[in-house]
């Protein structure tokens, strides 16, 4: 076998592996889409993608119009109102904080860093009630404030720690060179660290988008009025385990609600691999 043939073979094997794993990974989503076209009773016992019986085409419309005067467009609009500011604020505040931890020495740094990480280690179940009381005392219940304001203050320890790890991967010589060129601390962050860590920044934004978009628990706890409901609340609005559930409608709207996440990921993912000038700058 020539090297060229070998290479072709390797490419084919590579592709085959990708397709195989890909099918396993995509199956649940495909099933979900298929379920939207199944009759309700069939959903429970048909684990194949395509409906056995008649194709149901009404789930999308019925799911969209939902209950009462509220339609799915309200939920989508509300979710955007929560998610967009939340993601922007989170990236901003977490980047600043991560920069502080990654590049500076200051009094009590180790203690603060440990404290920041500690916040990840205490289960939510026990923090939730005092947090609720706190927001109640602020008068923030039944508004988006509990879902947005904390993001201004770097509330995600996960993302801070993640960005710290990536910032630490950038050689300090670059900072020092920039300082000699007259760059301020802020300038180093904006001109050197952020562009070099673009994949990490994109991932951070993407993760935060996904978590906030999918989050059911916090909106459920803090929002009372149905006209404030986000997509995740809207999806579960008519889900009552003790009565009948129109699963095909829910599957249709579920599919619709994850679509923005899929599209966003697809559009942003080139940042994870395609090189920018960074490669040459580094090392």
């Amino acid at each position: 076998m020539t090297t060229r043939q070998k290479k072709h073979l390797w490419t084919a094997v590579h592709l085959l592996i990708c397709i195989l794993i890909g099918f396993v990974m995509a199956y649940p989503l495909l099933w979900m889409v298929g379920a939207a076209f199944k009759q309700n009773g069939e959903i429970y016992n048909n684990s194949h993608i395509f409906p056995r019986g008649e194709w149901v085409l009404t789930s999308w419309r019925d799911g969209w119009y939902g209950v009462g005067t509220l339609h799915f467009d309200t939920f989508i609009k509300n979710s955007i109102l929560v998610v967009v500011p939340n993601v922007l604020f989170t990236i901003l505040s977490c980047t600043l904080t991560a920069y502080g931890f990654a590049r500076f020495r200051f009094v009590g740094k180790k203690i603060f860093f440990m404290l920041m990480l500690s916040l990840l280690m205490l289960p939510n179940a026990v923090i939730q009630v005092p947090t609720y009381i706190l927001f109640r005392d602020f008068g923030w219940l039944n508004s988006y404030k509990p879902l947005i304001v904390p993001s201004l203050f770097a509330s995600s320890s996960f993302l801070i720690f993640m960005l710290v790890q990536f910032f630490r991967g950038i050689p300090k010589d670059l900072d020092e060179a920039a300082i000699i060129d007259g760059c301020s601390s802020m300038g180093i962050l904006v001109r050197i660290l952020v562009p070099l860590c673009l994949p990490a920044m994109v991932s951070a934004g993407l993760f935060q988008f996904l978590w906030t978009w999918n989050d059911y628990f916090h909106p459920m706890l803090y929002l009372n009025s149905t006209n404030l409901y986000t997509v995740s609340l809207g999806l579960r609005m008519s889900l009552d385990a003790t009565t009948g559930v129109q699963w095909n409608n829910i599957m249709a709207m579920s599919t619709l609600s994850i679509l923005p996440c899929v599209v966003l990921f697809f559009c942003l993912q080139k940042h994870f691999v395609e090189g920018i000038a960074a490669g040459g700058l580094k090392g």
Binding site: I17, C18, M25, A26, Y27, P28, W31, M32, A35, N46, S93, Y99, G100, F101, A102, R103, F106, L115, M116, S118, L120, M121, L122, P123, A125, V126, I127, V129, P130, P150, L152, F153, S155, F158, M162, Q165, F166, F167, R168, G169, K172, L196, P199, A200, V202, S203, N214, I250, S257, I258, V262, F265, Q269, F272, V273, G275, A278, G279, K282, G283
Partner: protein
């Protein structure tokens, strides 16, 4: 402190200004709930009546009388040991597989990330039930390889099955590996290619060290999350059968919001906290030996 001294302090502690958003957020939003839960752990508190001081009673009870504590901790440990290595390894392998620019790879990256998106969906419990039922597609699939149909939620398999649910959402871990792989300077590989270094050596000598800081991060986060996991148990198994999936996080939730034993749940939380903290510190200490930072390790 006089003004000039304050200025001097700020000049020497510039980083302080940058972490200020976090610090304010911590003082305003996090500190009270955080330490309050520590206080509750020393009380009898059912959410409806004011907490009553108990001293160490909750802790003593957990270690001496609680029949669920040790088994649940062991189940959680098994879960962690099952999930963390497989998830990391899989994420890294797939990231390497996908780390190239082509339209096809863009497509596959998205496909592999799908479970992480669907994983938070309302439909996930339903999907899981349908796929893993007696006559579900998973049994049909392994049947084509001549493997006998399995009862996926039997006492011996249930923990493995809910581990699969977690492993299946390796997308985020994979994305971070991709981001890290991208940060490796190309000239390192070029130099290795010029010297004719074998692929495997390149992987162990260049790739792994260069992404070690992200391996470290992913490892720590996977551990922290696996220790606290309870959603899959809540949605699919209810902790059963025979408590084989009675994860620590689920036990906590059960105590706090179903039995209204918030004080007790807080004590259990702080025990879990201590366990994770010790583990984290150990990993941090050893990480000096195996992680490489471009900033010269100065932290």
């Amino acid at each position: 402190m006089t003004q000039s001294k304050f200025r001097l302090f700020l000049r020497n502690n510039k980083g302080f200004l940058f972490i200020l958003p976090w610090l304010i957020g911590f003082l305003v939003f996090k500190m009270y709930p955080f330490f309050n839960s520590l206080y509750y752990s020393f009380t009898k508190y059912n959410l409806m009546k004011a907490p009553a001081w108990l001293g160490l009673d909750n802790y003593i009870r957990i270690f001496t009388k609680d029949k669920d504590f040790v088994p649940s901790l062991l189940v959680t440990l098994r879960y962690v040991i099952l999930v963390v290595p497989i998830k990391l390894l899989l994420a890294l392998l797939v990231a390497m597989l996908l780390n190239r620019t082509s339209w096809v790879m863009n497509f596959f990256r998205t496909i592999y990330y799908l479970p992480s998106i669907v994983g938070g969906s309302v439909a996930v419990a339903m999907i899981w039930r349908v796929l893993f039922s007696e006559t579900g597609v998973v049994n049909a699939f392994i049947g084509t390889f001549g493997i006998q149909a399995q009862t996926w939620l039997s006492p011996s398999l249930a923990l493995f099955t809910i581990s699969l649910l977690n492993i299946w959402t390796f997308g985020s871990t994979m994305v971070l590996f991709l981001a890290a792989l991208k940060g490796i300077p190309k000239d390192l590989y070029e130099a290795a290619a010029v010297d004719g270094v074998p692929r495997l050596t390149v992987f162990f000598r260049i790739t792994l060290p260069m992404i070690s800081s992200i391996i470290f991060f992913n490892l720590l986060m996977a551990l922290v999350n696996a220790f606290q996991e309870f959603n899959s148990a809540l949605l699919i198994t209810g902790g059963g059968p025979l408590k084989s999936t009675y994860l620590y996080g689920y036990m906590l939730y059960d105590n706090a919001f179903v039995s209204y034993k918030m004080g007790y749940a807080c004590a259990q939380s702080w025990i879990l906290f201590a366990i994770i903290l010790v583990l984290t510190i150990v990993i941090f200490k050893t990480s000096d030996k195996w992680t490489y930072y471009d900033d010269g390790g100065d932290f």
